[in-house]
């Protein structure tokens, strides 16, 4: 799929999936999920080289690790609509006996998930290990990871950021969802992280910014540029400037929808703003 309109339809359906999943169980994290809908859709539909089916080792294909596991609704929707498991299974999000746990896990064997995440700050280290394994295996495919910006307050990230550059892990593209929001408010109010671009650069990374992180064309361009920077001795970071809650007007730009589900009326509003495209589950 390379047509922007087709991809936009995919994203719109993902948005519907996100709010419907969260609404049904009255729990989950719609804000960050909506903000990353375009990014994960472009990544899985266009950018990543993926094999048919799923195996844990993922040899001879690109890998993706979600570090900010709370945005599981968007991850599950994109995985299902990319063929990893039946779309109808989105109906089981957060329910008892489901493979779609509140935060993603390998424990129930959900295809597409290679590590548990949710306790923040661990995904970059895991991605580094997988990138090292690819090098040992002579596998030239890439490893992608996604991180919340607030998540970078966890110290383990900086151990990993230091390691990645020092050890020249240049088969890795790590994206930071720079929406400036976290549960307690704006990141600059909770714990300002300063200039993250300069920080990554100072640690020895190649860094590029995607100014409009909810614009499909910009994401496509940014990811392709990032790919062209791999294999040159440096890890690559993307600062993805997204808007939390993007695509649902009353959720946009506010931390208040970080972990709150819409009620019936709010759901209808959200769905009206994102008309069905590929078919609801």
């Amino acid at each position: 799929m390379s047509d922007t309109q087709q991809l936009q339809d995919f994203v719109t359906q993902v948005r519907r999936d996100i709010v419907r999943q969260v609404h049904k169980v009255n729990s989950g994290h719609p804000g960050g999920s909506l903000g990353c809908a375009e990014f994960l859709s472009v990544l899985y539909q266009e950018v990543m080289h993926r094999k048919e089916g799923f195996d844990m080792d993922g040899i001879d294909e690109d890998l993706f690790f979600l570090s900010n596991g709370h945005i599981s609704p968007v991850f599950y929707s994109v995985l299902a609509r990319s063929g990893y498991f039946p779309v109808e299974e989105l109906n089981t999000f957060r329910l008892i006996d489901s493979r779609l746990q509140g935060h993603p896990t390998t424990h129930e064997g959900l295809p597409g998930v290679r590590i548990a995440s949710g306790s923040l700050g661990q995904g970059l280290s895991v991605a580094l290990g997988a990138a090292n394994a690819k090098k040992l295996n002579g596998d030239s495919h890439l490893v992608y990871s996604l991180h919340g910006d607030g998540e970078l307050q966890e110290g383990q990230n900086w151990e990993a950021i230091m390691y990645a550059a020092a050890k020249k892990i240049d088969n890795l593209i790590s994206t930071v969802d720079r929406n400036y929001q976290q549960i307690d408010g704006c990141t600059d109010d909770v714990l300002p992280m300063g200039n993250l671009v300069e920080k990554f650069k100072a640690f020895g990374w190649e860094v590029l910014e995607i100014e409009k992180g909810n614009d499909i064309d910009q994401i496509r361009e940014g990811l392709n540029k990032a790919k062209s920077l791999t294999g040159k001795g440096k890890p690559v970071a993307i600062m993805l400037n997204t808007e939390m809650g993007h695509g649902v007007d009353f959720m946009m730009g506010s931390h208040k929808w970080h972990g709150v589900a819409p009620n019936d009326e709010q759901l209808e509003k959200a769905l009206a703003q994102n008309p069905e495209t590929l078919g609801d589950y």
């Binding site: 844990m56 080792d57 993922g58 040899i59 890998l63 690790f65 896990t105 390998t106 424990h107 290679r114 590590i115 548990a116 995440s117 949710g118 306790s119 700050g121 661990q122 995904g123 970059l124 280290s125 895991v126 991605a127 580094l128 290990g129 997988a130 990138a131 090292n132 394994a133 690819k134 040992l136 295996n137 596998d139 110290g155 383990q156 151990e159 990993a160 230091m162 390691y163 020092a166 050890k167």
Partner: protein, 317 residues
């Protein structure tokens, strides 16, 4: 009683190093990681022979655990090396989420466990690690007793698919198990048959248990000695068979009384065959600086303590 000979004092961490070196030659999927303690963990031979399969992560244990989890994705068998304190409590959530819950085939190899780390003192002497690790669902917990057994255990865990915590120590201690003994995860080793009391020991306390059994024999007490190198999964059948015969038990470990081997044995007995038990362990305390011998004496973790506990438990039958 059966005689055991110390074939020459050696440290269990060197047994780990030797096992890892052998794995480097025999299993191309084995990789090793270390957080700035190569010398302490005796990993240099593996590194010299397999530089491309070694990852020096610096003083960053959390990152090390995550990298290890990631290396399994691609078929590698990572062995992490640092002190027991930094292998467990310091990185508990990383192990819990990225390794245990994720079901990753990581071998967490932990040296300098317990009081026998000695002079560095309580900041480094973890006595809670067995408890921490055995509580993680799916985690195997192994605490071998000497150089030979640590080497054999290191080699054996590479063949097992799943997360393992391998605990060993710093000081040179008696080396008395056969060099060619195959290590079976979860299989207790009966070292001496007896009828009056069962002594169940792990790690450095196994040799002390044998010394205690000799002293008890001189007093006319027949002690059965079992080496529990695997605390989880616990060889409950071996424990129940022995205590069924002797009617009482002493557990001995270089660990806090709370959460250690003794509690696992107590739970097994309570479920199946309640019997008097005495615990040779540290009594919910931190350690302190001193020589290993001084510390084991002060905190009651030696043959004399096991003899005393045995005499006491027999009276409770």
């Amino acid at each position: 009683m059966k005689k055991y000979t110390d074939t020459g004092k050696n440290d269990t961490r060197s047994g780990f190093g030797a096992g890892l070196t052998e794995l480097g030659r025999t299993n191309p999927n084995v990789v090793a990681l270390c957080a700035d303690l190569v010398g302490s963990l005796k990993m240099q031979d593996f590194i010299d022979e397999n530089p491309e399969r070694f990852f020096q992560v610096g003083i960053a244990e959390a990152n090390m655990m995550g990298i290890a989890a990631g290396l399994t994705i691609g078929g590698k068998i990572p062995f992490t090396g640092t002190f027991a304190n930094f292998s467990t409590g310091r990185v508990y959530d990383q192990i819990r989420q990225s390794i245990a819950y994720s079901g990753k085939n990581v071998k967490i190899c932990a040296s300098h466990a317990g009081l026998t780390l000695g002079e560095d003192g309580a900041t480094h002497q973890i006595l809670e690690d067995i408890g921490l690790m055995k509580m993680l669902p799916g985690m195997t917990v192994i605490n071998p007793c000497d150089y030979n057994q640590t080497k054999a255990a290191t080699i054996a865990i590479a063949e097992y698919d799943g997360p393992v915590y391998l605990r060993f120590g710093r000081p040179k201690v008696a080396n008395f198990t056969p060099a060619d003994q195959k290590f079976e995860i979860g299989k207790a080793i009966l070292l001496n048959e007896g009828k009056d009391v069962t002594i169940i020991a792990t790690g450095h306390l196994v040799w002390e248990a044998l010394q205690a059994a000799e002293q008890l024999e001189e007093k006319g007490i027949s002690a059965e000695v079992i080496n529990i190198h695997t605390i989880k999964p616990l060889d409950e059948a071996a424990i129940l068979a022995s205590v069924g015969k002797t009617g009482c038990v002493v557990t001995a470990e270089e660990h806090n009384i709370l959460g250690g081997l003794g509690e696992s044995v107590a739970r097994t007995l309570t479920h199946n065959h309640p019997a008097p038990q005495e615990f040779v362990a540290t009594m919910d305390t931190f350690g302190e600086s001193g020589t290993p011998e001084q510390l084991m004496e002060k905190y009651g973790l030696n043959a004399a303590a096991i003899v005393k506990a045995s005499e006491k438990v027999i009276k409770r039958k």
